[in-house]
Symmetry: C2
Subunit: 522 residues, 2 copies
């Protein structure tokens, strides 16, 4: 057995089921190994940003890592922004990057570059087996490290000669390698008790919840705490996976802009974080603080990112809210709007029609501020957001989610400027016949930059006249792009059209794209 | 004047005329500065791979750097593969990356990442002005370093607070900063004399020419040397810019595969390199050498990469070939083929119809082996190749070339798998009304991987059955993609169709795309 097959067999035995791949010559033996090890499903992306974003989405929904397969330094580079997003989502990924053989690298051939350094910029471990005998152990270590709470990008660089060298007996691995996700560290009872005392006091408190605490158990515990103590509860700005909809408590996300967050936290004296970082500004603005904890408030950590915030919240609720039930949102749908689509009406259409058990991918940027409220009473669903701010995460996330949960409808809500980054995700959606409804919110501009232009006083002129912020001239035809990649497409400019097209897309198997034309901001 | 304007004014005063940009919030003051400094033309790319590839193409044709404008670490990541290609082409680029203010970075906000380390992986200098007073000098230093022979990627990281801070008087810079490209170091006469002696001997020699020596003066000197000494002359595998066509000498490129190069150099005892690395394999294969200098041959350096190889070749020719004229290719066109397009016939159509004074961008990979010969007698033109092997270089290179040379027709010849990487280049081509004819060679596969599958024995199966090497299912409609981005498109499956469509595309202003369907390799 060669090194490539040793790697794939080890990963398969340890439970890795999917490899999102864009291979090149240096990875061809790994492509051969994917044929020989059919337990690992190979999914081709035409661009490594699709590959890495899909691995992120898969990890969020499957709760375990997929492998990637990237071609040398340029493949890692193309995949880097969505690996950044995955890192910020704390998604575990076994990130496999092929490399030249060591003897070949010394000649500095055209594709040679510093893979190790770039991979280390992701702050996860980077391994490079030196020979075929070491592959299986490095694979186990990489997988183990990927699963290290809260989850990380663990990179395995496979030199081509290690892939192609024989030297491992077919039964060498003996049996299933034991790769257990280390449980998240629990929070000390004293910490929980101290925060319970704060909450019993007279001061106003806010509770910021993040990571896995955004799922039902964490939400319910937070709701009980709020009911008993009056604490304000917020979700972190962008959640890797949050459960939402009827039958669950619903909390707002922290705002994107400093002023929004300072309003949300106005009067609060204790900011308690549970699996989330302390409130901070996404971008810096002149004269605005980066830390958004009010000046006269203290920050208290109930659970660090990577600690078991859900369990800590439940224990805290038992201390302070033993008599309280969570406040659950009743099923309700927004009234179906009529007339032209706007940033107000499109979310209502989605809220009115969201199918049962959906997975909603949210890369709506400035167009999506109404989405959370509009879907609060819709059937229970998962929401995946782009956590690292790198554009183009959404449609690849949808691929990974759909591969992990093939029987659930996936709705990818995409800002136009972001969607352009990873368009070929549509091709993979078509090839794999994934049940994804892509809705492109097309306002023909980098609308958030127009907003920030005014906020920053970036220039004297009207931002609507600046060509660098404008996505018209020419207008992009997203319906044509979808069809060219094998995905049925349609265009909606009214709520009625969006509703009809959305219902049809959900009813039919396979991917669809709806281009929703919304007016540019004034 | 704020830091952003100080940067732009300094670059403008030093002769930088173009900034290829995809800005975000952290770069908005630089967008404002681009409005205030109209001497620098701002060209928007919808993806940073388009931005950086365009800067590469611009540098090759303008002979001086453009600036990029990239958004934080993810923007640099998206742009990294084409910066890798630019590095391998020795293209000078002033690579501007926006960053958070230093005080903001310490909170580790979602978009924070290690920009400096990733930029350093490009092996060029990385500067980061600490305050507004230092911006102008850092800009001059960055530009100077970019121009350091043979040219490099010099990165300037601009913290947003340095961009937005005021503090430079409007006339502070005093006058035009002096930024002179340092002349390429000349080769010592003793080196030239020693190589002249070798060439006068009985042993067979090969001369490998690269970099600027691929232009007329270098080619003519090499041809004289060949005529006088019988030396075989080859161009390096992928040239950043080579002049080609009637009235010039024509030399073959070194081959892509080790066996090809070993055949090209069979019997050679002296391999003389002039502005090119010694012959090496692009990829490693089991049992094949990486160094492709024959075992019984010696390598001799006439000019290192970055030294003045053209001048050295001219001096060498004067020593060994004072009585010899260069052998110039006479004008000639291939016969116009008829019937289905194949890897043999499509290059003949291009060779038959190539317009005067064209710039040909070649990212044809396995489909393009016949191109060089088919265009040797066509009107004199420049050929730009993708030098670093990172896919998706071609259509962005064409943008940069067209911006640098607006009155020349640009022909971008693209393999299908590569074209998908940077599709939104078409949008920039449309917006800027660039005279680019994109020809997509669509064989619906990663054909080179099918070839390498057999070469490597990557798996037991027929590579035509492996889905990871297959770009059909669904077929990609490149005509639809072009139209969706505002570029007229058409499809050709015969030589007659390609000829008609190519003539029409050249005759009409603005960009066009022709999808040329060629059969997958057997």
């Amino acid at each position: 057995m060669n090194g490539a097959e040793s790697l794939l067999r080890t990963l398969a035995d340890a439970g890795v089921e999917v490899c999102f791949a864009n291979p090149g010559t240096t990875e061809l033996k790994l492509v051969g190994a994917l044929e020989a090890v059919p337990q690992v499903r190979a999914v081709l992306g035409l661009f490594e940003g699709v590959v890495t974003g899909a691995a992120d989405g898969y990890a969020r929904m499957a709760g375990k890592p997929a492998a990637t397969l990237l071609h040398l330094g340029p493949g890692l580079g193309h995949g880097l922004p969505n690996l950044h997003n995955a890192r910020r989502a704390n998604s575990p990924i076994v990130n496999i990057v092929g490399d030249h053989p060591t003897h070949h690298k010394s000649y500095d051939p055209p594709l040679e570059s510093d893979i190790d350094t770039v991979a280390r910029s992701l702050r996860g471990p980077v391994r490079r087996p030196e020979n075929v005998a070491g592959v299986s152990q490095d694979a186990v270590s990489t997988l183990t490290e990927a699963l290290e709470p809260p989850g990380q990008i663990a990179t395995l660089i496979m030199p081509a000669d290690v892939s192609w060298s024989d030297g491992v007996a077919a039964d060498a691995d003996g049996g299933r390698p034991v790769v257990l996700a280390r449980p998240m560290p629990t929070v000390k009872p004293a910490v929980i008790k101290r925060i319970a005392e704060l909450l019993r006091g007279q001061d106003e408190s806010a509770l910021i919840i993040g990571g896995p605490a955004g799922r039902a158990a964490g939400l319910c515990a937070a709701s009980r705490i709020a009911a008993a103590t009056g604490a304000r509860v917020f979700l972190e700005l962008h959640s890797a996976r949050v459960e939402h909809g009827a039958g669950l408590p619903s909390f707002p996300h922290l705002g994107f802009y400093p002023d929004q967050v300072l309003r949300q936290l106005d009067g609060v004296r204790h900011v308690i974080v549970a699996g989330a970082p302390a409130p901070m500004a996404f971008f810096a603005y002149p004269g605005k603080p980066s830390c958004l904890v009010p000046d006269d408030a203290q920050t208290h950590v109930l659970a660090e990112v990577g600690e078991d915030a859900t369990e800590a919240l439940a224990a805290l609720a038992d201390l302070v809210a033993s008599d309280h039930e969570p406040e659950l949102v009743k099923p309700s749908r927004p009234a179906m709007p009529a007339g032209p689509l706007t940033v107000e009406t499109w979310p209502a259409v989605i809220g009115a029609l969201l199918p049962e058990n959906a997975i909603v991918v949210d890369e709506t940027i400035s167009s999506g501020s109404g989405l959370h409220a509009a879907t609060a009473g819709a059937p229970r669903h998962d929401v995946l957001q782009v956590c690292g701010g790198a554009m183009g995460g959404g449609m690849p996330l949808a691929i990974g989610a759909a591969v992990a949960a093939p029987h659930r409808p996936v709705i990818a809500l995409e800002a136009d400027g972001c969607a352009v980054y990873t368009l070929s995700a549509l091709w993979t959606q078509a090839r794999e016949r994934l049940n994804i409804t892509n809705v492109i919110l097309n306002n023909r501009s980098y609308a958030i930059l127009r907003q920030d232009w005014q906020r920053l006083g970036a220039g004297a002129s009207d931002p609507h006249t600046n060509a660098l912020l404008d996505l018209a001239n020419p207008d992009i035809d997203f319906v044509g792009l979808a069809r060219a990649f094998g995905v049925p497409g349609s265009r909606a400019s009214t709520a009625e059209e969006l509703a009809e097209q959305f219902n049809q897309a959900i009813a039919e198997p396979g991917p669809h794209l709806i281009e929703a034309l919304i007016p540019p901001i004034a």
